[in-house]
């Protein structure tokens, strides 16, 4: 009710060309989703409505406890709505088990240690498709593709617990990749990772986009989301308070102050220089550098 009628949100949807960039089918359709943790007596989600189209890359942001994970856990049926409706790939999750939805939605948990168990990376990569009943020869093929796609050749025979943590994180994503879901949910893919691993994950999301996958990425890493996301869903206190492209969200001082989120540093700098450059907030360093080179070379028209 409130989310759909939120004027700021309506405005944002209309004004934003990037969220309609892809004309794909509706991949995720959430309407009036409310969820209560009955035992704790806590309303974790309060009337959330959102649509995600096939091929979109969507970031979910907010502090811990704001409802991000509660929202994404509805996408593969780990949680079922207290009220409202969640449909993925046209299927209502209400009557479906997690194992059935696994064919549509690949959920990558934050900590790969919670997922991986097998005696070798290769075996672990085959676990998901085997559960889905994929024929053995196709499983072998998918495992080979995943090893190539994620660069796991060197560790394919090793025990998942014996490889480095960043590598394990990639294996965790690869183990979902072999299930070929149309929709990926990534929970904090870059948390605690160094720059190289974050860059790899960034590239990986780009390649998933090229393959036409829908990616929903829960993250505190604003630089990552600035790079990859078409839209950000901003969660606060169980409510969806903004659903706009990263550029607009970062520029919205009210939303940023309310949620205590901070934009990437380059975006912050561009926002503080905005009165002088007159340019849109930048999401990446080269972008702002280009704007500034332009502004410094030729005097801007007026001061406003």
């Amino acid at each position: 009710m409130t989310a759909a009628a939120d004027p700021a949100q309506e405005l944002a949807r209309g004004a934003d060309p990037r969220s309609r960039r892809t004309g794909g089918d509706v991949a995720v359709d959430i309407s009036h989703l409310t969820y209560d943790y009955a035992r704790a007596g806590v309303r974790a989600l309060d009337d959330v409505s959102v649509q995600i189209r096939a091929g979109e890359i969507v970031g979910v942001v907010g502090q811990n406890g704001s409802g991000k994970t509660t929202l994404t856990k509805h996408l593969n049926g780990l949680l079922k709505p207290t009220s409202g409706r969640v449909a993925v790939a046209g299927v209502d999750t209400a009557g479906k088990r997690v194992q059935e939805l696994a064919a549509y939605v690949g959920y990558v948990f934050q900590n790969p240690n919670h997922q991986l168990f097998a005696s070798s990376v290769e075996v672990d990569l085959g676990f998901g498709p085997r559960n889905l009943g994929v024929p053995e020869d196709e499983i072998a093929e998918r495992v080979e593709q995943a090893i190539a796609f994620f660069g796991l050749e060197a560790v394919r025979g090793q025990h998942p617990y014996r490889i480095s943590f960043p590598m394990r994180k990639l294996v965790g994503i690869a183990a979902i990749y072999t299930m070929r879901p149309a929709i990926f949910v990534l929970d904090e893919p870059s948390t605690g990772q160094d720059h190289i691993t974050t860059r790899k994950i960034n590239e990986l999301i780009g390649r998933l986009r090229e393959e036409g996958s829908t990616v929903i990425c829960v993250s505190h890493d604003m630089q990552l989301l600035a790079d990859v996301a078409d839209r950000l869903l901003v969660m606060w206190n169980g409510r969806l308070i903004a659903d706009r492209p990263p550029r607009d969200v970062f520029a919205d001082r009210d939303v940023m102050a309310q949620t205590k989120l901070e934009p990437p540093q380059v975006t912050e700098i561009s926002l503080r220089l905005r009165s002088r450059t007159g340019a849109l907030p930048a999401l990446a360093v080269p972008e702002l550098a280009a704007t500034l080179e332009h502004a410094l070379a030729r005097p801007a028209s007026g001061g406003s």
Binding site: Y107, F109, N113, Q115, I176
Partner: protein, 296 residues
């Protein structure tokens, strides 16, 4: 984002039992433990249990107490069912009734009932202690009695790890179901438990480095933050516990542990009703447990 809930934890309160020194309570728990193992007399054990329930009332913990007892009910019913057809009792057995292929033995009923009464009396006293004592007070008191610090610490850690492991199992099960794992059957065991154990090992390794960095495991003089008072009444209750134990043991030694296996005779009808009711309850519990697992 679920909180950590300890399944059997202290219930806040200020009753006489709450205020009693943990060691005095521990004496009684241990005394009841020894006594319960020393006799098979169901009447005596039932009487002991009733006294225990009196303490539950005194402590005002009925609601939380009964919730835990309910969880233990399947164990209790299984004792009666299995014992009555296959008594843990020296042969010969006296058959008193038959249901289909099963023969119910007099010794089985006696053995089942006494085992049940034994388990009940011990559990009641143990629960009263656990639910009225802050674990830290217990551990502090134990270290006063020169129970080794490390042993004490391991006990405390184990108690803490139970809810954490429960939560971890939940997360891992969710992760594996998200990978299409069927949640029942033997095939689910390794994917569900390997990550939990690996995680527990990692936790213990990192915790031990963190603790060592805080001078844990050093051999010097230690002090204690929690101060547990020892009042005269604690001495009285504690000594009374020892006295009760001594009296009971003396009585058992003189009476053959109040054996009633030959005198407490069950009429066949009563025996059948008892076993059938227990069986129905037991099967019902197992069925509902399976139902819960399948639905998950």
């Amino acid at each position: 984002m679920q909180g950590v809930a300890v399944p059997v934890s202290m219930v806040a309160g200020n009753s006489f039992i709450h205020r009693l020194n943990p060691i005095a309570k521990l004496v009684w728990v241990l005394a009841v433990l020894v006594i319960s193992f020393a006799t098979r007399n169901p009447l005596f054990l039932i009487a002991l249990s009733i006294v225990g329930l009196g303490l539950v009332t005194m402590a005002g913990i009925w609601r939380q107490f009964s919730r835990v007892m309910l969880i233990l009910l399947p164990v209790a019913t299984s004792l009666i069912v299995f014992q009555s057809v296959a008594p843990a009792f020296p042969q010969p057995w006296t058959p008193i009734a038959t249901i289909g292929p099963f023969t119910i033995y007099q010794e089985g009923i006696y053995s089942g009932l006494s085992l049940l009464a034994r388990a009940t009396s011990m559990t009641i006293f143990a629960l009263v202690m656990i639910m009225t004592t802050h674990p830290s007070d217990l551990f502090t008191s134990l270290s006063r009695l020169h129970v080794p610090y490390v042993l004490n610490f391991m006990l405390a850690m184990t108690l803490q790890l139970i809810p954490v492991l429960q939560r971890e199992i939940g997360v891992v099960m969710s992760a594996q179901k998200s990978r299409g794992m069927k949640s029942t059957g033997f095939g689910a065991v390794i994917p569900s438990f390997v990550p939990v154990f690996a995680g527990a090992i990692e936790r213990v390794q990192q915790l031990s480095i963190s603790l060592e960095s805080r001078a844990f495991g050093s051999s010097g003089h230690k002090t204690s933050y929690r101060q547990v008072a020892v009042r005269p009444v604690d001495w009285v209750v504690g000594i009374a516990g020892f006295a009760f134990l001594a009296v009971c043991i003396a009585v058992f030694l003189n009476t053959g542990a109040l054996d009633m296996s030959r005198t407490l005779i069950f009429p066949p009808a009563l025996a059948i009703v008892l076993v059938a009711a227990a069986a129905v309850l037991f099967v019902g519990f197992i069925a509902s447990a399976i139902w819960v697992v399948i639905r998950a």
